[in-house]
Symmetry: C2
């Protein structure tokens, strides 16, 4: 199954697409949508929406996953991020994709096996799981891939992958 992970941010929104059977994962596409802080938020949202639509059209994922909003740190930043997240959820919904949401804790636990893992550890494990020689240059794309891997390894997704296999066998 092909899964799109999105790591929302007002300045940089990372995305990553993997192909997964629930156990083995392969990197398909990744990148970062950068927007200029000087531009109005609406212009930046438009750029992010367009880029995500293009990513979806190009890769045809069967599902998407995003991180839940975390707002303990900075409410202003969280509010800006929520605008971007709204646009990302819209792009995913308009493409007809189911969208799962995971907490940072769940993502780190799924990828590293430890909910309080450091950013660097997540990047290393994402690279390792995808069989890359080195971590991706972009931390945002790496985070997006971590969300996709988290979704791929949840029990529910595994069942779905197996169910679709059974249908192929029938």
């Amino acid at each position: 199954m092909r899964i799109l992970g999105i790591d929302c941010g007002a300045e940089r929104t990372g995305y990553g697409v993997i192909e997964s059977d629930g156990r083995a994962h392969r990197l398909v596409d990744w990148g970062v949508v950068r927007t200029r802080p000087a531009d109005p938020l609406s212009t930046r949202l438009q750029a992010i929406a367009e880029a995500l639509r293009a990513v979806i059209a190009r890769n045809a994922p069967a599902a998407a996953a995003v991180e839940e909003v975390f707002y303990a740190a900075n409410v202003k930043t969280a509010l800006k991020l929520a605008h971007v997240r709204g646009v990302a959820l819209l792009a995913v919904a308009e493409a007809g994709l189911p969208c799962a949401e995971y907490s940072a804790l769940a993502i780190k636990t799924a990828v590293v096996g430890y909910g309080r893992a450091e950013k660097r550890q997540v990047q290393m494990m994402v690279a390792s799981v995808l069989g890359l020689e080195a971590p991706l240059a972009s931390e945002d794309a790496s985070d997006a891939l971590a969300v996709a891997i988290c979704h791929a390894t949840t029990a529910a997704t595994r069942r779905r992958v197996q169910a679709s296999r059974m249908e192929v066998l029938r």
Copy 2:
């Protein structure tokens, strides 16, 4: 000039369209987009985006205005609202409309003449300014019209209306 005001909310998003020369204002369209709390946020965002696109297509406004996010009260509610706001800003930007943002204080000052006016006073003044016999049944639509009236009465908008008139006269 035709102005679209939007009052964002996860459960109810109000909209109001007025025709204004900066002094006199006429009600053109208003309504509320209701979404079901039981539905996933992405489904609700999709419904709001579709409705706002239809409102824009139907009324062809020249500008839009929304309220700034206010988050002192409840961060969770503000975050949900920010998702909706992101989608609203996107719909407006993709229609090629300039979008102005005003604080609650600025809106109340513009409509009632008093920044700490009660909700009910705003509703009464919106009705009065638009020459309606009674306040609108929907508080959300009324709030959306208040944003539109605020935008219509700002100095910058007045100048723009006058400039477009001059061009017509030339």
